[in-house]
Every structure is written in C-alpha cells, then in structure tokens.
C-alpha cells in the first residue's frame, strides 16, 4: 500500500479525548466524527487536513479510553497513516481493526518536520521524506495484518473471508 501526504505533527501522549472529544460520541458516523477530529488540541486541523495527509507524533499516541471512534475519526478526516514513536495498546489494536495504517518508527519521528511531504510504502515499512530526501525503515506488518488494513478493517476483512468460504 502506497501512501503520500503532508505531515501534521503532534507531541507525546495524544489521548483519545483530544482525538475525538467525548461530547461528540453520541454518533458513530465517521463523517460526523471527522468534523471534530483533534479539535481540542489543534482547532484548525480539520480545516487544514487534506486527503492522504500523515500524522507524525511522539510516544504513546492514542492513550486513554478504548473508544474505536478515535482511529475512525482520524481515518475519516482523510489521514492516510499515523507514524509515532509508540502507540497505546488499545489504540494500536483498534487502528488495525478499523483499517487505519499506523507505524512505529522513532527515527522517522525525530527527523520529519511539520509540512514535509512524506511517502510511505506500508507493505515494506519504508518511510521517505520527499522534502529532505531522508529515508527510514519501520518494522513492516506481517501479510495478514496488511490484508486486514487493505480490506478496510477487521469486520470487512472477516466478511470477505466468510464470503469466500461460502464460495460467493
């Protein structure tokens, strides 16, 4: 999977409450959630973000509650990938389950600046900063996880698998 976009930078411990504030959790509609993504930490993020853009953040991205709304909001806002030094456990699991590509790569996080254009080969784990020419290697996901993400998340992935089994 090839991803490419402009970088938006965030610090450490970005929690699920700033990714999508609880006051908006009365809906699970991705488009509605996307309207408020990152609102409390970066008020005009939603206005600036373009399809394909990439979030780069420090440690422990997505800490806090187990709400799946957080990766859903990020994905629906147009963001194609989140690169961080580390992710909180449940956010990590939820991101894969909703089909949001994520990568752990501390070296890339240290080197990439806001506004850089970055392209990512998610299958190979290669991150390239087009602005500076620097290249980084993250641990690629094993093929079955790549397939879950490519299918758009665990539910869609399983739906396809089950349909295949039934020979549809």
């Amino acid at each position: 999977m090839q991803l490419r976009g402009t970088v938006h930078r965030f610090g450490r411990d970005v929690d699920t409450d700033v990714i999508i504030p609880a006051r908006y959790l009365n809906t699970s509609d991705p488009a509605e959630l996307a309207k408020h993504c990152m609102e409390d930490i970066d008020a005009d993020f939603v206005a600036r973000v373009k399809p394909g853009d990439i979030i780069v953040a420090e440690e422990n991205f997505g800490c806090g509650s187990s709400r799946e709304h957080a990766p859903v909001a990020i994905k629906a806002s147009g963001v194609s990938c989140v690169i961080a030094k580390s992710f909180a456990r449940i956010f990590y699991r939820n991101s894969i389950n909703v089909g949001l590509p994520i990568m752990e790569c501390p070296e890339a996080v240290d080197a990439i600046s806001a506004g850089d254009v970055v392209d990512v080969d998610a299958d190979a784990g290669v991150i390239r900063d087009e602005t500076t020419g620097a290249q980084f290697q993250a641990q690629p996901f094993p093929p079955f996880i790549q397939q879950i993400i490519a299918d758009g998340g665990l539910v869609e992935h399983t739906r396809r698998q089950l349909a295949q089994k039934r020979g549809e």
Binding site: R89, P142, L154, V155, R159
Partner: protein, 422 residues
C-alpha cells in the same frame, strides 16, 4: 530448539501453531473460548451480524453471561439480556446461564470447569485476565474482536513482553492475595505493566489457594497488564478434579526465558492495605487509613466473591453487628458459592450481623444497582476499581480492600483491621 519462552509466549505460540514467538511479533491464533456479558455481547452480536455470518464457529466455545445488570435492573437492561438470550438460543450456545444458574462470569467459568489451564481466551470484559490464575492466557478485548471471534474462533495478537513477580515468604496477619496485588499495583503504578504479561511465582503464591491466585490475576489489568499468569501445580489440578470440561494443558516457563523485568518481593512487606480514591495504585496501609468513616461496605465481585472470601468476611462478622450507620452488602459471586455459604452457616452469620445478601450480580461494582452511592458517600469495597464515580455519584469515594478488612470496617464504621474490633 525454539528460544526459551515465558508462559505467555508458550501459550500464544501453541495457539498460533508456531514453534516460537518473540515479544512485539504479530500473530494470528485459534481461540479456545470467546466470552461476553450482557453489556458487551449486544454490540458483539451486532458486529457478528455485519459480518454476514450466520453460524458461530463453535456453539460450545462461546460463553454468554448476563451478570452486570442481571437480574434485569430496568427495561434497558432487560432489552440487553434479551438480545443475548435470543442469540444464545438461536445459535444453540451451550454456555449461557440464565438468572438462577448465573454467577459473575470470572468466578463462574473457572468454578464450573469451563475455562481450563492452557486455554487462550478473549473476552469482551477487561477482567477476562482473571483466568491467568489457573494458567490460561486470557485477555480483554473490544466488542468488535469478540464479534469476529464468535464467527471465526480466531483473533490476532501482539506478543507481549513478560514481567515476572517473585513473591517469597509469609504474608503478615490479615494480609491476603488482594493485598499482594494492591501492593504490586501501588509499587509499579496503573501503567506499570502496560501491554505486558505478568507472571507470578515464589513461595507465597505456591502456598496460596487457587482462589487467591484468581484474585491476583483479576487485577493484572489494573496495572495495565494484558494478562496475569500462574503456573499450574497440584493445587490447580485438585481444583479441576472432576470439573474440567476439556483436558488441562500445562505450560511452564523455561528457566532461561527472557523477562523484560523481574521483581523480587518479600511477603513480609505486604501489610493489609487499602487503595484510596481514585486509583487502584493509591495504596496505603490499613493502619494509616483508620480516620476514614464509611457509609457502605461491599463484599463480593469477580475479585473477591468466592467462598474463601465469604469465609474471611464471616470470620470477622461472626457474633458481631454492622455499625448502625453502615450498609453492608454481601454478594456471593455464584450460585454455588451462595449455597456453600448456606451449608457452612455463613448466611446466618451475615444476616445476624445485619448484612444485606444479594443474589449473584456485578451490581454495585460498576455503579449499576444494588448499592449505588450518593454524593459524598464513602464505600469500602472488595472490588477492583475505585475510579471517579465508579460506584455511583461523582463525588462518592471507593476504597478497595480485602474481605476481612471490609467486614471489620463495616463493624467499626471506619476503615479498620479485624484486630481493631477486639
């Protein structure tokens, strides 16, 4: 030769059909059981529907336990349990317990031999980690994972690193398994075991009952842990004699397994303690908590609602009366525990002491019903969480403790040790 592995690594490797796994590795595993309760099952059932699946992967490997708001506390919870019950019937699920047979899931499933040592289990309930007490790798997941698990019997995992806790020596008087885990959480913090498996060993846990080990494993999640594991020994084997639904499989860590960290703890340092509001890691010795007056005591839950806990509470309450300004609510975790309480005369002790005794339910533990707190009220509780508003109003307070301390506090009207009553 595969690399030396910890218990968690061995169980995961076996279920992924791999010779070895390393921490951080992403694997796909076959599951032995998928659990959910009356709150989480309805969402998982919805996911199951979205998958276009029509049959569950194996109707004998799904456990549906309506325990949180059952017996139904209101119309909304009645609708939820109905959804679960209809699904169980339609799918021919063998492990569904109606009110009257039901118990708190994490006490019920080991007791009935449904979860067995060596299992790999996911549950849409964070305290699924309880089954580490009998040597299973069990972890809490979201409802999406559970719904997919119903359909496929599979789940993906990131292999966790393992922290090992070696506890040796004899516990001080009135100190129990609950104090061991509160002590550990106090020491390492609520994220001290984040994403890790916790492996418990040493002479203290060897001497401990299986029930005590279940209490400790139950609270692994309160340290951020993904699982808490104990090795199978003669006590575990005896616990399962005649009840195990499936063969027991034992996994023991290799002597040269790699641990992210090893903690050595002297049991003599583990004095009876309470976790003050609003974090389980906020532990202080009971001896330094006597100034706290209480309005309510709750003795029960998946942490401390087993027969050993009932006995510990009854030993303190025998021949005594609960303070006239305290509500003491006792909830045996399962029907079998309830009956055992009757057989052993513990019910008489509770009733004579002025306790209210409830049919098995999670009830007050999550602020559901059967003992919700008003603003500013304080409760000493044998449950596992004391977050803001956990048992009721936002300004209410929960103090976590072992059953003997909770019982003694109910009598004293303030946090107390059993010896304070003499």
């Amino acid at each position: 030769m595969p690399r030396p592995m910890t218990m968690a690594e061995k169980i995961l490797a076996r279920h992924a059909h791999l010779d070895e796994v390393v921490p951080g590795q992403l694997i796909e595993c076959d599951l032995d059981l998928v659990l959910s309760n009356d709150i989480t099952a309805p969402i998982a059932i919805k996911t199951f529907g979205e998958l276009g699946a029509d049959r569950v992967f194996d109707p004998t490997r799904i456990c549906l336990v309506p325990d949180h708001y059952a017996p139904n506390k209101d119309i909304k919870s009645a609708e939820q349990t109905k959804c679960v019950r209809d699904f169980a019937r339609a799918q021919g699920i063998t492990h569904y317990w109606e009110v009257g047979c039901m118990g708190i899931e994490h006490a019920l499933l080991p007791e009935q031999g449904v979860v067995v040592p060596g299992d790999l289990i996911i549950g849409a309930d964070s305290h699924t980690c309880t089954y580490g007490g009998i040597g299973a790798f069990a972890t809490g997941v979201g409802s999406t994972d559970a719904g997919v698990g119903y359909a496929t019997g599979r789940a993906w995992f990131k292999v966790p690193r393992t922290l090992r806790f070696v506890i040796d020596g004899e516990l001080p008087r009135y100190s129990s398994a609950k104090d061991v885990i509160l002590h550990i959480i106090g020491k390492i913090g609520v994220d001290g075991a984040l994403y890790a498996a916790m492996e418990f060993a040493g002479s203290t846990v060897e001497a401990m009952s299986v029930e005590g080990r279940l209490t400790i494993a139950n609270m692994a999640i309160e340290a951020g842990g993904k699982a808490g594991l104990f090795e199978v020994d003669d006590k575990t084997r005896a616990y399962y004699a005649g009840t195990a639904e499936r063969p027991i499989v034992e996994y023991h860590p290799d002597p040269d397994a790699e641990y992210a960290q090893v903690y050595h703890i002297d049991a003599a340092d583990i004095v009876p303690c309470v976790s003050w509001p609003h974090l389980p890691s906020n532990t202080r010795p009971v001896a330094e908590s006597r100034d706290v007056d209480i309005d309510q005591a709750v003795i029960g839950s998946c942490t401390n609602g087993r027969i050993e806990d009932m006995r510990a509470a009854a030993d303190v309450l025998r021949g005594r009366r609960v303070d006239p300004w305290v509500r003491c609510i006792v909830i045996p975790a399962t029907q079998a525990v309830w009956k055992q309480c009757v057989d052993e005369g513990l019910m008489d002790v509770f009733i004579d002491a002025g306790c209210a005794v409830s049919t098995p339910t999670c009830g007050p533990c999550l602020g559901g019903y059967m003992g919700v707190l008003a603003d500013g009220e304080r409760c000493i509780s044998t449950t596992n969480r004391n977050f803001v508003g956990r048992m009721g109003a936002k300004t209410s307070e929960v103090y976590l403790a072992n059953p003997a301390v909770a019982a003694a506090s109910a009598v004293a009207g303030h946090i107390a040790l059993p010896s304070d009553l003499d």
